[in-house]
Structure formats: structure tokens, C-alpha cells
Subunit: 406 residues, 2 copies
């Protein structure tokens, strides 16, 4: 008998019928002898409905009162799911974030979990109850309701699993696991049975948006085995765990990509220490996030400096950079908003050479020009012309034989 | 400067536009220098929407989880109203029932308020904030969310006013006060400037449903001046207070009526002690509420016994009574579901004789036959044939000169 925390997202509990399906799934698990803590989101559409109401009353709804408003979404779901379970003869009890006491800091709308009082939950579990907890919410030390920000329900589930030392935290979603790449681009994409936290973090931040990054970080920190499964189909999903040194690691686990990037370059900047912060400081001051950064020494004691930003920020970043160029006496500024990024990710590349050359060779054979390269310990990213994105992903998927079961 | 508790019902906060109007009204009061605690209901329709959801999942939604569900309705309103006030530049802060700590017993769906911790509210008022509290809800000593039952928001407002020793508790509703009778029946019906708690209790329980009886009882018990006003029109409404012995009391304050009654009679019951409980016991056992009761001694040591019930309960009451008649050896059972009750109410009748005869004379002149009579210290009720109801109300309204301003 094990303790499992399950999280069902908004789509999984989007209608009364779906809530009934979730209740049945929970009962199946319970009949296998598991203790269950269930974390739920607001019914799909509900959070947006509430935000729309708020927007009609406030220019920029935020802060304490927005959390009071939004937290009702999950509160409705916990009550309905508990009722459904009880109607099916299963003892169940619901908890809001405040009732559990999921203590957070007081950063309304994006609070961080500080502590969880698992005392009452344990007591209910001991009494054979299914415990249903509202995701996404908590309260600060003065009892003010807080929310964890979008996707916070995943974080709630992982945090509860960590606090209760659960055997597994299962995240039910509308996909049935983590794939080697996006199946819409590569039809041979394969669901991974397992992946490490590190790989998942690289995959998630690179655009394979299955799980909230924060919840993966949290699971990694507290070593909570995390499983992504579908609410709608059967199957074991993908298990995300710490790296197991005894395991033979796949070289490459997956290929992530991102088409929302734009590239800016400032050429012929007189080179002296601190030049990078002079270029990026004004960008950061406008809250524009920079992704890849590359600096090359040019000729005549000047340097060329390239970075990428989200495509939405391209125009304002370009304006800022033109200003900076004038101040620094740079030769030229140029940019390209038709680029895309492809990354191969895998902990196996730590101990294997030649990944980069396999990658570059494969792209070269299809005449795909590499505009930028950036590497980390378990990832190699390249920036290419946007129009070659799908071709590049398919080529790399094949080059690393990701379609083959291992 | 005084402390006022204002309560706005579901219709008053039924849309975003109406919430804005309520915010403006609150600001007007605040500009007059008052400290304000605002109690709000769920937006109209919301509670029914939630109950509908629950009914799709549970045969008979009730208990703890129903309260978790329903309490979200008011929680949405407190957040939206606070946002509206802040958007208009007024500091405001919202409280759920649990956050105030409105402590109740644990009778879910119909909890009773046990204690109110007014500490935080006082602190916020001192800081110049408008305090917005969710009506209808509280929590038990273990932090379980409870609700006070339909109309409980009025009770919340009165209880807060009592706890804070407020100068007045204002109940905003969709009528502009308490009338001498229903203006739809008597076009000359006049809004009363004031009425006593006792009179209001008689009027409310007799069908003039402006305020929840419970809230009037509560206000009476703690001597909280209660004012009923309209959210939509200007005017001072009706003040409901304790009886002021120095005041010249009107003879009659109003005429209440009720057309939902039915009458049952059991004739020729062998008379001996305890016969009333033998007749009414089986009725009460089926949770049928009995209103008027009359017993007359008949001939030959038998008695005739008549009582009224809600019309919806007529058929089941009749079945029970037929059973009882057989057991007791009664002669006959008959009933009438086409009756109506009219009551004249006024504390003035305590010190004035002749009210009853004025009432009976007026009805007699219109050839309205009186079927039953029942009296209390401040009320005389008659049961008549339903078809004479409107005529009877108009006749009595005129007989007691209620259309005249005093």
C-alpha cells in the first residue's frame, strides 16, 4: 500500500461528467489499496471567467483581492469532487489551501509555499478518507488567501507529496506523457517511459510545455517521483525522477524547439570590460528576458555581440539596442525575427562525445545553416532560420534514432 | 461619525454594473464621515448555479461539502466589491466568514452564529478602510466552512452590527421599506417610517417577506436598530427598533396576509386529556408545520379540532389525519385548501380595545365570512375563503385608515 498524490487539471474536471470520470478513476486506485490525496484545479474556463469579472471592475486586477476571487475556482471543484466521491460511496473530505494550511509568503498572485501542515490530512487518510485539496492556493501567516500563479496546482501537488513523503506524485493532464519531441511535427515521436528532472527542466523551458517548470524544480529538490499521465486515456505515462547512476542512460532523451525567438546583433563595439552589461542592462531594465547570448571578438579590438529575445519583445529591444549602439560607438545593429531554436537534451551526453558533431552533420546534410550555437551540460541548442524548423526537428529525431524504443 | 453596517443582497450586486453602483453608494456614506462594514450576498443566480452543479453530482447535496461550494458565491462578491472600491480610490479589504472568524456551531447548511471576533475589523476601520464581509457564512471551531442557510446574509449583518456595537444596521434590498400591506393588493399601501421588532416579526412570519425572521430576532435580542432600504431608489426606508414607550404608537401598523394555507378539521373526537398531541403528533412526525390551531368542545363529550398547514402539505396531512380519526374513533374529517389568512398587526392594540370588533365589522359589511380566528398580544388573524383575500385586505386597510400618514 502506498500513498499517492494525484493532480487533475482544469480540463480533467471541466464538466460535471468529467468530474464523475475522475471520481471513478480515483476509486479504481483506492480499490488497489492506495491512500490518495487529490489536488484539483478550477474547472476549465472558470479562472478566465473570474478574471473577466475583475477586469470589468479594475484596470489591473491584482494583489490580495484577486487571490480572494480566483481561489473560489478550485474551492468549487474540491466540493464537487468530494460530493461525487461520497455519492459513489467513498468517504472524502475537501480542503482549501487555507484549511490544510499551505503556508505561503505574502506575494499575492505568485506566492511561494513556505510550509505545509500535513497533520489533518494524515488523520483523514488514516480514517480511510480520500483527501481532496484545492490546488494553486494557500494563505500567508495572517490568514490572507494567496495564489501560486498559473499552473500552481502542479506545485501544490508536488509540495503535498513532499510534505507527506508520498510514494509518487501523478499529474493528470491532457497529454499522456512526455514525448521525444512534438508529435505534431514528427509523427514518429515516442512517449518516454522515464526522464530525469534535469532533462525535464531543459525540455520544459525549451517549449515542451507539459509541466510547470516550478513543480519540476520542486520535485527535483525534494526528490518526489513525478509521473505525467493522461486523464482521458489509459497508460503509464512518463515517470520523472532523479538520475539513477546504475541506469544505462539514453544518449539523447528528446528534442525541444521554440519558434518564438528573435535575434539581435550589435557589431563592432569597442571592446573593454563591462561591455556586456552595458548592452544588456538597458534591455533588462525594460523587463525583456534574454535567452541565448553569444559574444565574439571581432577585428580591430572591437567585439560582436548577439542575443535572442521573445519575438514579442523584438521591436522594443531593437530600439533600445540602437540607442546603446550610438552611445557605445558601435558600427552596426541588425536583427532577425524569423529564427527558431532547436535543442537536443539528454543526460547521456555528459559521458558521450560526438553528440554535437552528429547534430551539426545531420543539419548540414539538409543544408540547414546554423546561425547560433549554445551548449550546457545536458543540452545543445542551435538557432536556425525559422523555415527549416520542422525539417530540422525531424532530421535530428531520426539522427538520434529517437523513434526506436529502448 | 457613526459606525454603520450595510448589507447588500444578491440583486443589488447581481452584475458588475450594480456592484459599481453599490461602491458609489458606499463612497457617498463614507464621505459623510461614517465608518462602514459592508456585508454582501452572492451575485443573484450564483447560488442557484452552484446548487445545480451539486445536484448533478449528488442526489441530495448537503452537509460540509455543500457549504464549501456555496460559500464561494459570497467570496466572489467581496473580492469584486473591494476591487471596485479600490479602483475608485477607497481603501477596502475583504473578509470571508472564516477570515473574520464568524464562529458558528457545526450544523452545516443552517449553522447558528456563536461568536464573532471583531478584532481585525476594528483595526481595519481604524485605518480608514471599508471592510467588506461575506454574508451567509462562517466556520466551526475546527475551521470547517459553514453556511447559515438562505437569507443568512441578513443575519450576518445584524450579528456584525451587534458585535461591533454599530449605530445602525442597514439592509439594502429591492423594496424601499416595510409597507402597511402589499402594494400590489392595496395601491394606497404606505411605507412605514418605523415599526417595532415585534410588529416586524409578526409581519414577516405572516408573509410580508422583506427581512429574514432570524435576523429580526437577532436584532431584537441585541437591540440593533435595523433599517430596510432600497438599493435602487433614494429614501430613508423603514427603521425597525425596540418599542419606545414615550412614542405614541399607531393602533395598527400593517396588514399581513398569506394565501398558502389549507385547513383541516377532525370532528367528534371523544374528548379526554392529551387529545391534541395525539392529533398533532403524527403530523409533526412527518415534519409538517402547523400554523393556527383551534379546539372547540362539541356535543356529547366530543371535541372538534381544526388546524392549518402549508398548502403543499395538505394532502399528506389529510391522509395522516384520516388514519388518526380511525384510531381515535372520531366522527368525521374534512378540509379546505382554498383558504387565506389575513392578520392585522400593531403594538398599539395592547392598550386599545375594539380592534377586533372593528376588524370583524369591516369584514362583515363586505359579506366576508370568517372561518377561523386566532389572536396574540399584537395581532389578530382571521382565516377566510381565498377568493375574498384581496377584498378583505383592502377593506381592512381602509377600516384602520392605514393610507393616512401619521
Amino acid at each position: 500500500m502506498s500513498l499517492i498524490v494525484q493532480k487533475y487539471g482544469g480540463t480533467s474536471v471541466g464538466t460535471v461528467e468529467r468530474i464523475k470520470e475522475v471520481a471513478k478513476k480515483i476509486i479504481e486506485y483506492r480499490n488497489q489499496g492506495h491512500d490518495l490525496v487529490i489536488v484539483v484545479s478550477a474547472m476549465s474556463g472558470e479562472t478566465n471567467r473570474l478574471i473577466d469579472l475583475a477586469k470589468q471592475l479594475s484596470d489591473q486586477p491584482r494583489g490580495r483581492e484577486l487571490d480572494v476571487l480566483l481561489s473560489t475556482g478550485e474551492q468549487v471543484t474540491i466540493a464537487l469532487l468530494s460530493m461525487a466521491l461520497m455519492q459513489m460511496g467513498i468517504p472524502a473530505v475537501s480542503y482549501t489551501g487555507s484549511q490544510v494550511r499551505i503556508l505561503t509568503d505574502n506575494s499575492h498572485n505568485k506566492a511561494r509555499i513556505v510550509d505545509i501542515n500535513e497533520h489533518n490530512l494524515r488523520k483523514d487518510l488514516k480514517e480511510g478518507k480520500v483527501v481532496v485539496v484545492a490546488g494553486f492556493q494557500g494563505c500567508d501567516e495572517h490568514g490572507n488567501i494567496t495564489t501560486l500563479g498559473r499552473g500552481g496546482s502542479d506545485t501544490t501537488a508536488v509540495a503535498l507529496a513532499a510534505a507527506l513523503k508520498a510514494d509518487e506524485c501523478q499529474i493528470y493532464t491532457d497529454v499522456d506523457g512526455v514525448y521525444t519531441t512534438d508529435p505534431r511535427v514528427v509523427s514518429e515521436a515516442r512517449r518516454l517511459d522515464s526522464i530525469t528532472f534535469e532533462e525535464m527542466l531543459e525540455m520544459a523551458s525549451l517549449g515542451a510545455k507539459v509541466l510547470q517548470i516550478r513543480s519540476v524544480e520542486f520535485a527535483s529538490k525534494y526528490n518526489v517521483p513525478l509521473r505525467v499521465l493522461s486523464s482521458f486515456t489509459e497508460g503509464g505515462g512518463t515517470l520523472i525522477t532523479a538520475e539513477d547512476p546504475s541506469m544505462e542512460q539514453a544518449l539523447i532523451s528528446g528534442i525541444a524547439f521554440n519558434r518564438d525567438e528573435a535575434k539581435l546583433t550589435i557589431l563592432g563595439v569597442p571592446d573593454h570590460p563591462g561591455i556586456a552589461s552595458k548592452i544588456l542592462g538597458p534591455i533588462a531594465a525594460e523587463n525583456i528576458e534574454v535567452d541565448m547570448i553569444i559574444q565574439n571578438t571581432g577585428k580591430d579590438a572591437t567585439t560582436d555581440f548577439t542575443f535572442t529575445v521573445h519575438r514579442n519583445d523584438y521591436q522594443s529591444a531593437l530600439n533600445i539596442l540602437n540607442n546603446t549602439a550610438e552611445k557605445l560607438g558601435a558600427r552596426e545593429v541588425n536583427g532577425n525575427e524569423h529564427i527558431a531554436k532547436i535543442s537536443v537534451v539528454g543526460v547521456g551526453m555528459r559521458s558521450h562525445a560526438g553528440i554535437a558533431s552528429t547534430m551539426f552533420d545531420a543539419l548540414a546534410q539538409d543544408n540547414i545553416n546554423i546561425i547560433m550555437i549554445s551548449t550546457s551540460e545536458i543540452k545543445i541548442s542551435v538557432v536556425i532560420d525559422e523555415k527549416y524548423l520542422e525539417l530540422g526537428v525531424r532530421t535530428l529525431h531520426k539522427a538520434f534514432k529517437l523513434e526506436q524504443d529502448r
